[in-house]
Amino acid sequence: MHIPENYLSPSTCAVMGAAMLPVWLMAVQKVRQEIPKEKLPLLGIGAAFSFLSMMFNIPLPGGTTGHAVGATLLAVLLGPWSACLAVSIALFVQALFFGDGGILAFGANCFNMAFVMPFSGWFVYRALKKMWPRHHILAAGIGAYIGINLAALCAAIEFGIQPLLFTDAAGQALYCPYPLWISIPAMMVGHLTLFGLAEVVFTTAVLGYLQKTSPALMTGAVPQTGKAVYGLLVLLIAGTPLGLLAAGTAWGEWDPAELAGQDFLGSQLGYTPAGMETGFSFEALFPDYAIAGLPDTFGYILSAVIGTALLILLFKVLASFSSGKTDYDSSVREG
């Protein structure tokens, strides 16, 4: 679901970025007001979870791949505003260091995965939790499923409107060449089935595990990030090479050269859109989570370690700047 560079026109990117700006400002304000300083590093760990879950690629028959995002999980654990901020930063690290998702398309990617997804997932979760208070994990699962599908739908619409709005004199698309009637089914087939299921499994499994091992996390008290959470992180990092088993490229994330040869739904494109050939390009430090000179598996694990550590460090440093309120009541309750 990571929209790469030049698949969206610069004007679309600008609109999406402008739409995200007030959301980010609001999120920063809300997090500052609502999240106690002690809980801020937890946001980093949440962002690391989301980062890692996006490294587990799942293959779909037909050669494309996809992944879970974990945004609804974060929204359930930390609230939607914190989830928005954490996923945005995870996406930023991915775009900047690993070339996953474009720098220009950062606003659009954040809109889909850091705004639409956690908020829709969280609203569904909250509504269902009111109806069935005893089955909140099920509610979170359904919220996650709806969240990822709405996000995929948004991404599909962003892809699909490109050929309607931006074409050259010959009628060829300048950016993403697939119109709505191709992009929506292509994106939704995968997300309604396998990737949606992956998101549900990821969300419910992690929630179930955390409920058993550190229930304090679920009740909203300031928790001690214990061995359970770090253990889960290590397990996920060690498991990331599983994501390499899926060999294909995700739908809508091909290189320009790969795109020209795409034989999608029987209609070969046959040209590379002009906007992609001449567009903005950015060299990430470790493109595609690979490190030159190292086996792919090793590079993948190393990227996972570097990404996770960067996110945790970032939020730890941010927490040290915040002079947020300390909740003395909680320590009194515990003591």
């Binding site: 590093p41 470790f286 490190i291 030159a292 000179g293 190292l294 190393l302 370690v305 570097i306 550590a309 960067l310 945790i312 460090l313 730890k316 440093v317 941010l318 927490a319 040290s320 700047f321």
Partner: protein, 266 residues
Amino acid sequence: MKIPAWAMREESYEPDRDRDYFISRSLLRVMKVLFSFRHQARKTQWNHVSAVGALCFLIGWLILTVSAHGAAFLFCQLAFELLLLCLLDGRILRQLLGNALAAAAFSAFLVAPAIWLGNGGNVLLIPCKTFLTVAALGMLTEFLPWNQLTAAMRVFHLPQVVIFIFDTTLRYIVLLGEIAGEMLTALKLRSIGHNPHKGRALSGVLGVMFLRSREMSEEMYQAMVCRGYTGEYPATASWSLRRAEFCLLVIFLLFVLLYLRLEVMR
């Protein structure tokens, strides 16, 4: 009781504004250094790693960093250092990362002409190496108190005098810092109104400190002689391989293997 008239009179003394920031600033600076020394000496979290093991690891680690030619190996080192950094507290991290990034930025500034002259991206490895080395050193001093580090120097057969001077310097920075702090506080409390002789005030503080330090050093030397000091620093307790050191050794060997794979056999 009858209060005399002069005591009843309202005080209307308003001192001139005086620019005595130098007192506050030097006081703050002294306090900061003292705080960091105290904080440094109190660390107990890494008790199970001996300073000798950690120092040996650091030296080997730095040699690998400095001699690497490719980005791949440095990224592996970066991953390990970032993992260790995650164990530190946010405030310490801020300082440590700030120092390391500043050093990296400075070295990037120094090598910038080489990039313009067309020496390729390999020049950029130097700022990366600077970051890695400064962060590694910063972490060592964060994880281990300085008194253990000076004690560990004995194992590396450094001359006795060097260790003695180093150890005494560190100790005396704290002792004299306390005196300086007290005197600056006293000066601050007594400086009301305009002080026309700032030079005299400051040189007074420094002069008294010098005299005190001379007295203290004589006293210390005599105390040491009384306790049997003959100019020899006894070697630290015999050093054996503990579990933590074994882990460090395994990690180091892994990195040596990686180094051979990525740097030597490429």
